[in-house]
């Protein structure tokens, strides 16, 4: 069930448009913010709120690869695999991340802390290799820096 707060926020977004459907991407983002991903049940609830069929909404949700239709970990790592980062050593970072986390691309660590995903471009080609964790962008990565960053997310309070 969506929380009252989510419903209110979605309704408020929808009120900005002639057709409530226009708010569908915002609505998906709101729900993802609360639950990290959009489940089938939530999808149907949002669809009903916006007067859409679940198909129409899911068609939008699945189009965007940053709307997650499967559960993800507490922190989603988006590792840039575009040309500039690749030149600057993306493959090494990827190998290190995989080993460090014990997961392949597209997987979530068993403790549910991290999900590792590839990303086409983070818009910071001059500072590659780059990745995002949650909403934070990290640039000029090397293995040590990666370890340090991940440690921060593992023990958020011990900073």
């Amino acid at each position: 069930m969506l929380t009252q707060d989510e419903r209110n926020r979605i309704r408020a977004e929808a009120a900005h448009y002639d057709h409530p459907q226009a708010a569908c991407v915002e609505a998906l983002k709101i729900v993802q913010e609360h639950h990290r991903w959009v489940s089938d049940e939530h999808l149907k609830e949002i669809a009903a709120l916006l007067d859409m069929s679940p198909e129409a909404l899911d068609s939008v949700a699945t189009f965007y690869n940053l709307i997650f239709r499967k559960p993800v970990g507490e922190n989603v790592i988006l590792l840039c695999d575009s040309v500039s980062c690749w030149i600057m050593g993306y493959e090494g970072i990827r190998a290190h991340l995989k080993e460090h986390l014990g997961v392949e691309l597209g997987e979530t660590t068993s403790d549910g802390k991290f999900t590792l995903l590839p990303m086409a471009c983070l818009g910071t080609c001059d500072r590659g290799p780059a990745m995002m964790v949650g909403n934070e962008l990290y640039r000029n990565l090397d293995n040590d820096k990666v370890d340090e960053i991940l440690a921060r997310y593992r023990h958020p309070s011990g900073a």
């Binding site: 089938d40 069929s53 679940p54 198909e55 129409a56 899911d58 699945t62 189009f63």
Partner: protein
């Protein structure tokens, strides 16, 4: 007209069209996927690439998509250009990169547009050596099979299903090379026109699940032009058989009637032909025991019943052909021939025909409804009673916004651009019915009320259109506002259509629709589209039969010895007691294709052919007479009803049917006997018709196994059955090319094995069939004569305490007698219910699903309550043809209580 040059040859073209349409219209082969004549262009697949040149000096040119380029005067293109050829081959190679190459096990194989286009582009060897993405398929219900790996991402399915048919539960998911077309979860596709996906999808993703259960390749099916027998619209179909079983129904294009589409009842309702309820042997009832007998024995018994001294009456049927009904009428005499329709329906059919044949109105074809720019629906739930009419209305609501959008100089075919401008705008559509309908979502405004209030709304609209029409008193302010809005929209429209029918059982509603049309027509005529209950209701109506109730009266009065019942289950028409009284006091001879309750109670029963095993004519709601042809020779002693009638007459020594030995003879006699059918016999391609001296084959030249199919019985190749009654032959021999349009047994052209070969059968792509669309309109508007208004306006509906007005609610799946027993359709049919408004439910103290009892026609019926928020208060809806409630004329008043 404009001139374009294709590979340096000039062609006269219509500049409002695009290059692809025009190339195809000129008979040129240019491959395409995403474009469809009914859907327009989006330029999604890039398959229709051609080279376009600026002028005759331009040597380089540039690649353009033919479907996205207007056929402008002076345009110079090349289909054969090397770059264009290579481009097209490259595109198909890309489209095919994930395709599983599983044609041998694919139901589309042999009639696949993807196969045809692949061959046409010359892409023979695949270069893609990598893993292919694979999908999980979905269970989409009893009609459609899903095999997503074969998808080439042309987007036709969603464009048809969502944009054209108004479906909600099919969409495109995800992106790049894993775009998926399906539902958000498994489940039956909800749209009533889902079956068209089978023909819209150019690959084997969406295929006919009912065909899969007894699969046969297209080239092995014996096919004939047929007409749908499941509602009054008479959509044209191609029915296919093998091994004595009807195996599938495909669309048969008729630009005036069904165009490219069928509804799911029409496509998947054929199962009754193969069903175990079929009667295949004559039966005699003796000492309460029914036993199968030979035809000779049954005829011997009947001879006694039909003898000269015997007083014989005949009861016809709205689901039997005109010829069969006329044969019965001829046998018993017109004063002894009764329609066999339910008395209420019979009355309404007569009324509708009277209106349509009077002044001031014109009955439009479905195609004309599609191009209407304002529609008023009175009393009819068209999605359930005349499905394709609902599909036509869904197109009509796009007319007005499209016209606006086209003012931005967007061509008619540029679908994506038009949609972008039109967004969700809808043209005027007003619906007034007792309960909510599926079309409501497309409507400008809906009005709910008892049939009398629906009629009053109509009468008031007529008055608002023409001050000389009688006024309606006592309308609420809300109703008056609706009336003004409706009248305003109709008046403003260029091509308004009023739609109504017998669906809610109300004469006042029919009259009101007529009144609106007359008021709208002024001195000219306005389009008035009526629907009736069955496939040949109007054909039977034109035969001027006597009223069904009178037949029962005559029997009750002891004036009848024998009743011949033609393809009619009387229990569906009148109350059980009446039928039983008739069975008890007269000798009943029934002729029918299935073992109905009437057949079970008849003294003698003869097995007749279904639409697929006989030939005949039906008259649709437009008044269009259309011939359907026999598809195959039935097993057992099944014969056409008219043929049994001839034998019956002969056995009894009667001469009425002497010389009327074929449908042609009967039709010719009908043309002489009944004015409405004058001229029809001359228009029909009769049995003696030949093309170049040859018959038209029902089998394709590739049909396999001719020498072996019956080898388990006899190793000698059997002689193919003869067909003395039609210009078609039960063989693969005959005229090898395109026959005249009424005799099209399949769509096929060299290099075009799929249904897309239809392009080659049309005079112009998307237009009429070459040589004209089949069928003949029997009802044309009367040139002049004043349209008289009726002032019989019913008073407003007043509910009485503790009492309900019971109205019929129709279901596309379940309400039609014949299709209801087809297994696939039966799976989608609802169970019995009593629908009532939540308000009334509360008063009665019933919850959803709890039983209520109603009393109708002296019988008590217990039904589970169905709470319907759109139901008019004081009105209760029961499903037509579903459950035990049969033979009751509705609407009727009834008490209702909680059980």
């Amino acid at each position: 007209m404009a001139t374009i040059y294709v590979d340096d040859r000039p062609y006269e073209v219509d500049p409002a069209k695009n290059l692809l349409e025009e190339c195809l219209s000129k008979g040129l082969d240019l491959p395409y996927f995403c474009w469809h004549p009914a859907l327009g262009s989006v330029g999604a697949c890039r398959q229709c690439a051609v080279k376009q040149y600026r002028d005759e000096n331009d040597q380089r040119g540039r690649i353009v998509m033919a479907c996205m380029t207007p056929a402008m005067d002076g345009a110079r293109i090349s289909i054969r250009d090397k770059d264009a050829v290579q481009f097209r081959a490259g595109i198909i190679e890309l489209l095919m990169s994930n395709h599983p190459h599983d044609c041998p096990v694919c139901d589309e194989g042999g009639e696949c547009h993807l196969q045809d286009m692949t061959v046409m582009t010359g892409h023979n060897y695949r270069g893609y050596r990598f893993g292919k993405r694979t999908f999980t398929n979905q269970q989409l219900g009893p009609f459609i099979n899903h095999e997503m790996n074969r998808c080439i991402t042309c987007y036709r399915c969603v464009r048809y299903y969502r944009d054209y048919a108004g479906g909600k539960d099919l969409d495109a998911f995800a992106s790049h090379n894993h775009v998926y077309f399906g539902r958000h979860e498994d489940g039956a596709l909800e749209n009533e026109f889902s079956g068209n996906l089978v023909e819209i999808c150019p690959t084997g993703v969406f295929t006919d699940k009912t065909l899969k259960q007894h699969y046969t390749r297209k080239w092995d099916l014996q096919t004939a032009p047929s007409v749908c027998a499941h509602c009054s619209l008479g959509c044209n179909t191609i029915a296919g058989e093998r091994y004595g079983q009807l195996r599938r129904i495909l669309n048969r294009y008729n630009a005036q009637v069904n165009g490219y589409f069928l509804c799911d009842r029409g496509r998947f309702g054929y199962g009754f032909v193969n069903g175990d309820r079929r009667l295949r042997q004559p039966r005699l009832l003796q000492d309460g025991e029914s036993r199968p007998v030979s035809g000779a024995e049954a005829l011997k018994r009947t001879a006694l019943l039909l003898g000269r001294q015997s007083r014989v009456i005949g009861i016809g049927s709205p689901r039997a052909s005109v010829e069969a009904n006329f044969a019965l009428r001829t046998l018993v005499g017109s004063r002894n021939f009764f329609s066999g329709m339910a008395p209420g329906e019979e009355h309404l059919v007569a009324r509708m025909l009277h209106v349509l044949r009077g002044a001031g109105v014109r009955t439009p074809s479905l195609c004309e409804v599609e191009s209407a720019d304002a529609v008023l629906v009175l009393g009819e739930d068209v999605t359930q009673t005349a499905p394709l009419l609902a599909l036509a209305i869904r197109q009509a609501v796009k007319q007005a916004p499209r016209r606006q959008a086209m003012q931005l100089r967007i061509p008619r075919w540029d679908d994506a651009a038009l949609n972008e401008v039109m967004q969700q705008q809808k043209g005027p559509l007003y619906i007034a019915t007792p309960a909510g309908t599926r079309l409501d979502e497309a409507a400008t405004q809906c009005f709910r009320g008892a049939p009398d209030d629906v009629a009053r709304l109509g009468f008031a609209v007529a008055r608002a259109l023409d001050a000389t029409a009688p006024p309606v008193r006592g309308l609420s302010r809300e109703e008056r506002a609706a009336v003004q809005a409706i009248a305003g929209a109709l008046r403003k429209a260029e091509r308004p259509v009023v739609v109504s029918g017998s669906g809610c059982g109300s004469e006042a509603v029919v009259d009101a629709a007529a009144q609106v049309a007359r008021a709208l027509g002024g001195a000219g005529t306005a389009n008035l589209c009526f629907t009736a209950a069955e496939c040949n209701s109007f054909g039977l109506g034109l035969l001027n039969a006597m009223g069904t109730a009178e037949a029962f009266q005559r029997v009750a009065d002891g004036l009848v010895d024998t009743v011949v019942v033609l393809e009619n289950d009387l229990y569906r028409r009148v109350g059980r007691a009446s039928v039983e009284a008739m069975l008890a006091s007269a000798h009943v001879v029934a002729i029918d294709h299935s073992a109905t309750d009437t057949v079970a109670g008849a003294e003698v029963a003869f097995p007749s052919g279904t639409f697929a095993e006989t030939e005949g004519t039906m008259v649709n709601n437009e008044g269009r007479a259309q011939r359907f042809y026999q598809v195959f020779v039935p097993q057992g002693e099944v014969k056409p009803a008219w043929s049994w009638l001839g034998e019956l007459a002969q056995a009894a020594g009667r001469t009425e049917l002497t010389g009327l030995r074929s449908p042609d003879d009967l039709l010719a006699a009908l043309g002489r006997a009944v004015a409405a059918f004058e001229g029809l016999p001359e228009r029909v391609a009769g049995a003696s018709f030949r093309v170049n001296g040859e018959k038209v084959p029902r089998l394709s030249p590739r049909a396999s196994g001719r020498t072996a199919v019956s080898a388990n019985v006899n190793v000698h190749e059997p002689k193919p059955p003869e067909d003395p009654d039609s210009p078609l032959a039960f063989t693969m021999e005959g005229y090898p090319q395109q026959p005249p349009s009424p005799l099209i047994t399949r769509f096929w052209a060299p290099g075009w094995n799929s249904v897309q070969s239809l392009n080659k059968f049309q005079a112009e792509v998307g237009g009429a069939l070459a040589g004209g669309d089949p069928g003949m309109r029997l009802i044309e508007p009367v040139a002049n004569g004043a349209a008289a208004y009726t002032d019989e306006i019913p008073p407003a509906f007043r509910r009485r305490a503790g009492e309900f007005l019971v109205v019929p609610l129709h279901h596309i799946f379940g309400s039609d007698e014949q299709s209801a027993v087809a297994p696939a359709v039966a799976q989608r049919s609802p169970g019995p219910y009593a629908a009532l408004s939540p308000e009334d439910a509360q008063t009665l103290g019933v919850q959803d699903g709890e039983f209520v009892e109603i009393e109708l026609d002296g019988g008590m019926f217990q039904l589970p309550a169905l709470l319907m928020s759109s139901m008019t208060v004081g009105v209760l809806g029961v499903p037509v043809g579903i459950g035990s409630l049969r033979g009751v004329d509705l609407p009727a008043r009834s008490r209702c209580r909680r059980v």
